[in-house]
């Protein structure tokens, strides 16, 4: 086993190692050999980094690298003292680690030497130097007082030099979604040369808040990390807590959870299809898919009582049972949804207004997807066979037959095909689960206190691999809780996908990862050669695209000359 190799190779500098649960390995190493160990693990096949967790133990800081090889997760633990919190960066070995390192740097003040990402990554602009909110010395009230006094969060204008290139800041209110993200594009003519993402507009500080609430209160907070994949988050949370408690839940509850997970996936994928249609100016798709999505929401509401935040998962089982009446209703709706999903595939893949905006758009290679650690349907559309339901099965996914949908299109159209096929797979899983669901209890009583242990849970959320890390304190509140959502894993990859795209393809290429951080249409362009700046809405972009196809304009600046809107920014 690889851990043994590590001990042979590095001797005493590998401090301890072992197994905690199936597919969970840990190894504690000295700071000096981080890069060597990670390099060795990568050569052993641990090429995917799930996330990096920071910890404040009270005696010092700890950095935990979670590396994955088709389901088995190895946690590399490194201690870092408070007075010298430096550690070498591993971004040149695993490029996908870039944002995770930045996050730990922001929240714990660990300096990753060699990480090229500008600060801050997720904290607001103008955040006070040295205030690392997840360190235990800072209480929430103290942090709030400091930021209220200093006026943190005011927009900062970034000035960049460059000849002939155009810099386009997009967002935080922008075109792909309803959530804020800042993207800065470097454009040459019509083509995107480079993309820099500024995330963190939605940073609320949930992880810190969770340390001050009980496990039952946290269930509610976790559900509200994301309103679209709310089942996935509570699923991952209860898995982490139940694993720490060593709690066995009834078989029936496991099946109900699977049904809820898959219903959630279906509604999320249908939602994405609608949004994707909207991004290419094909609103009919939005109206069709969202109308059909309502039937799935009706089911979720019938099962749980809610349309969006279901509160179905509780520690020790599920809150409500699926009765026989409901079972028949679910099967009937599944028949309908199956027909519709096939119809969408049939219609859209033959419709030139769809295919011409998706096939060949957002191209990237499979090796990029692997290196940048893309997850979920995005990765599977780029021919990467990764699915937590299959690789690291939770609940009863190990017993249920289903296909992991992988295509080698390597473009936006591929992400559509993967999601449409996954709807069909989900329907199959639901049918199987309803048929094989055992009778009996669906909830057991769980202790309120979690012992001082660590556990890591992974779930295949609709957007990809979701990972939660829990460290119990022995009391009713967690010592540390860490969440890594699938979108942040896909941000470095979508930046790669966007390179080489057209300006007008930004919305759809960005939407292809089904980003989930929160936006609106507003783009600001600056032509440096003429010192003219302008703001384009999505409609402008669409009109511009149409005119360009007709050949009446060839550059954004010509559009401005014709329709106006330029402002002198010299």
């Amino acid at each position: 086993m690889e851990v043994g190799i590590l001990r042979d190779r590095f001797g005493d500098r590998v401090i301890e190692y072992g197994f905690t649960k199936p597919r969970r390995i840990y190894v504690k190493i000295d700071r000096s050999i981080v890069r060597d160990v990670v390099g060795l693990l990568v050569s052993q096949g641990y090429t995917h980094i799930s996330t990096i967790t920071g910890l404040d133990t009270g005696r010092g800081l700890e950095v935990l690298y979670h590396l994955d090889r088709t389901g088995s997760l190895i946690t590399v633990r490194v201690e870092v003292p408070y007075d010298d919190p430096r550690i070498p960066s591993i971004t040149d070995i695993i490029p996908g680690a870039i944002l995770y390192e930045g996050e730990v740097r922001d929240l714990f003040g660990v300096s990753f030497e060699g990480n090229p990402y500008p600060r801050p990554v997720i904290l607001p602009d103008g955040w006070p130097e040295g205030l690392h909110p997840l360190r235990k010395v800072y209480r929430i009230d103290d942090i709030r007082r400091v930021i209220a006094e200093r006026g943190v969060g005011a927009p900062q204008v970034e000035v960049e030099e460059g000849g002939g290139r155009i810099y386009i800041p997009v967002g935080p209110q922008h075109p792909a979604l309803k959530e804020p993200i800042g993207l800065r594009f470097v454009v040459e003519g019509e083509y995107i040369v480079k993309v820099k993402a500024r995330i963190g507009y939605n940073h609320r500080g949930i992880e810190k808040a969770m340390e001050n609430q009980t496990y039952i209160q946290n269930l509610m907070l976790v559900e509200r990390i994301c309103g679209i994949c709310s089942v996935a988050h509570t699923q991952c949370y209860v898995l982490a807590v139940e694993s720490a408690l060593d709690l066995e839940i009834p078989e029936r509850a496991r099946y109900i959870r699977v049904v809820m997970n898959e219903l959630n996936r279906i509604h999320s994928h249908m939602l994405w299809m609608g949004v994707a249609g909207h991004e290419i100016g094909f609103d009919t798709v939005l109206m069709y898919t969202w109308r059909d999505r309502e039937y799935v929401l009706d089911l979720l509401e019938a099962i749980s009582g809610n349309r969006v935040t279901y509160s179905i998962n509780v520690i020790g089982g599920v809150r409500r049972d699926i009765t026989d009446d409901l079972r028949d209703r679910i099967s009937k709706t599944m028949d309908y949804i199956e027909g519709r999903a096939k119809l969408y595939m049939d219609l859209l893949l033959r419709d030139p207004s769809f295919t011409r905006r998706t096939i060949g758009v957002g191209k990237a290679s499979t090796s990029d997807a692997l290196n940048l650690c893309a997850v979920g349907p995005t990765a599977r559309a780029f021919n990467v066979r990764k699915d937590i339901r299959r690789d690291d099965p939770y609940e009863v996914y190990g017993d249920i037959p289903f296909e992991v949908v992988v295509v080698d299109n390597c473009d936006v159209a591929g992400t559509f095909i993967v999601r449409a096929m996954e709807i069909l797979e989900s329907i199959g899983i639901i049918r199987y689960a309803l048929e094989h669901m055992p009778s009996g209890e669906y909830r057991v009583k769980a202790p309120r206190r979690v012992p001082q242990v660590e556990s890591i849970a992974r779930v295949e959320a609709p957007r990809g691999e979701l990972i939660h890390y829990l460290k119990g304190s022995g009391g009713e509140q967690p010592e540390r809780y860490k969440v890594r959502t699938p979108t942040i894993a896909n941000i470095p990859f979508v930046a790669k996908m966007l390179e080489g795209c057209n300006v007008a393809d930004i919305p759809i290429a960005f939407a292809a990862i089904d980003p989930c951080m929160a936006c609106e249409d507003r783009m600001e362009f600056i032509d440096e050669s003429r010192n003219i700046g302008w703001v384009w809405s999505l409609d402008d972009l669409r009109l511009y695209r149409r005119l360009r196809e007709k050949g009446s304009v060839s550059k954004p600046i010509e559009y401005i000359d014709r329709f106006g809107g330029g402002i002198d920014v010299s």
Binding site: I140, I147, G227, E294, A518
Partner: protein, 152 residues
């Protein structure tokens, strides 16, 4: 609804009539979980179809009459919300959709959250719920349209 004051000048009456029948909205997420956002969009789609009231979702604040805000205000978004609000033409209205936008909701104890939308910009209408159902959103918007018809 739309009980227009007949004592007003004709032009003013036409303006109010037009405004009440085409309330264009701008949707801004200021740090929410997306739950309210998908319910706002669901209200626009066929089952609920608020487009029958003349409501259209616009991308640019300069085209919008009503700003629909979802989510608590995060430290990073606060100043930007104000900037977006200031770009909207008068008369402008703000609707806070969801518990977070009303008061900070479950996130009120987070260090990077300031609180509800009214901590940054004036709010005309609060639609509580986590998230509010599309029916509740439609009810709220209909009340606001009534107010728009009466001149804001």
């Amino acid at each position: 609804m739309h009980n227009l004051d007949l004592g007003l000048p004709v032009l003013e009456r036409i303006v109010r009539w037009a405004r009440a029948r085409s309330p264009w909205i701008l949707h801004l997420n200021t740090g929410g979980c997306n739950g309210c956002d998908i319910e706002v969009v669901a209200a626009l789609t066929p089952r609920y179809d608020v487009e029958r009231f003349g409501i259209i979702l616009r991308g640019s604040p300069r085209h919008a009459d009503i700003m629909v805000v979802t989510g608590p205000i995060t430290v990073q978004m606060a100043e930007r919300v104000r900037l977006v609000y200031e770009q909207m033409p008068e008369p402008r209205f703000v609707v806070a959709v969801g518990q977070c936008a009303c008061s900070g909701g479950v996130f009120r104890n987070c260090y990077s959250v300031i609180g509800g939308v009214d901590r940054v910009i004036p709010v005309d209408l609060y639609i509580p719920g986590c998230p509010p159902k599309p029916e509740a959103i439609i009810y709220g918007i209909a009340q606001l349209i009534d107010r728009v018809a009466r001149g804001g």
